[in-house]
Amino acid sequence: MGIWSCIGTTLDEVRQSLFEGRSGIVFSQERKDAGFRSPICGNVPHPDLKKILSRNVRQMMPEEAQYAYVATVQALEQAKLSQDYIDSHEVGVIYGNDSVAESTMVAMDKFRAAGSTAACGSGAIFQSMNSTVTMNLATLFHLKGINLTASAACASGSQSLGLAFLLIKNGLQDCVICGGAEENNMYGIASFDALQTFSTRIDDPTKASRPFDRDRDGLVPSGGAATLVIESYEHAVKRGAPILAEILGWGFSGNGDHISTPNVEGPARSLLRCLESSGVNPHDIGYVNAHATSTPIGDSREAEAIAQVFGDYRVPVTSTKSLTGHEMWMAGASEIIYSMLMMKNDFIAGSLNFENPDEVTQCINVIPETRQQHFDMFLSNSFGFGGTNSTLIIKNL
């Protein structure tokens, strides 16, 4: 696993932030000056790749690909997957990404200012395709297997893991590098800010993201990248890899409904399909990492779906977005890592700012403060615009 996020740029930092309830959300003067309704966001540092990668290589990498690169370097190191091994085996990549706004805008600005396409330069086309992350990772690490970008809005990262899981389960790939990346510049989400679905708790940024809380007033955008190495058990054993956990199953569904307003039935089907494909019953799940982004309707609908599926069993639920904000295309992958860090270190990170449930969210068991707790299996939800839902169940090993 590897991570580059607003709550840390190493697994240790992130584990510590989760345990201590340290938020990565800040006020952005740049966004306020630019005309944002909600100038708060995740504070994601920029990796300095100048001494690591040549200018010609960096020329092809937008912000999100740079995040994905540093997260992947970490993940490969932890997985003991060396470049020598990769060079002599077929390793694939499936990564979630669903925007290239800044790089597209910069290239088009140059084009329009000069009145000539020549002004775009060499990297613009590679930076402004949605598959920029996978094309960069595949060439940087010489990956010769599946090479695919999953674009499924805020479920992209989760879907990338689900797809890799299926390819491996069906014997089509032995090892796939997965994850999700999200550009964290203001251009990536300016049009999202226009929808007025972001929190406006500008005076108190760390209180802004409050999933399931009665007084939640919208999400807080963030970004970065998260990478996981997924492989068949036999392949991992054969190459002596440190095995952390097993993906038991993947569930997915479409709402077939409104483009932005989720329903209950679609997410519930995703959860049920995941439980069924995993061959476990709800009581086996020790923790649910909710998608909950801190929007009034989204959190309510998810709470209802969880309550419907888990019935009388009040499974512990938190949303790590209370600390990170909404990492969108990255979230489905990063939240697997957050949950893994909890599972491996016997704690559940409290859902920051959950002070009071509302009439609907009281139907689930939201854990407000970090507590020591052992669990061996968790479920992670990711839902996105267009009604795309993805759920994963992971078992400790």
């Binding site: 100048k50 040549s54 200018r55 010609n56 020329q59 140059k110 200012a113 000069a114 000539s116 020549a118 002004a119 775009c120 330069g121 060499s122 990297g123």
Partner: protein, 81 residues
């Protein structure tokens, strides 16, 4: 614009864009080799000349620009009066 000014400005821009020390530049030095340009990155040289001097270098002319000296000459002879 005097030739000395063109040389100074071009060298400074190339050094910044391609992250190569100016001390490695010489009128007879090969542009592609010195700046580590392949067929794709060569486009950045065209973009630099386009945005700085409003000069579009057609592909057929690009083949004639082999050295730094060739590039100075090309810019000098195509600068708008």
């Amino acid at each position: 614009m005097k030739r000395e000014e063109i040389i100074s400005q071009v060298n400074s821009l190339l050094a910044e864009e391609f992250e190569i020390e100016e001390s490695e530049f010489a009128p007879d030095a090969n542009l592609k080799e010195t700046l580590n340009l392949d067929s794709i990155n060569l486009v950045d040289l065209i973009a630099l000349v386009q945005t700085t001097y409003k000069i579009t270098i057609p592909v057929e002319d690009l083949k004639k620009i082999q050295t730094f000296g060739n590039l100075y000459d090309y810019i000098e002879s195509h600068l708008p009066a």
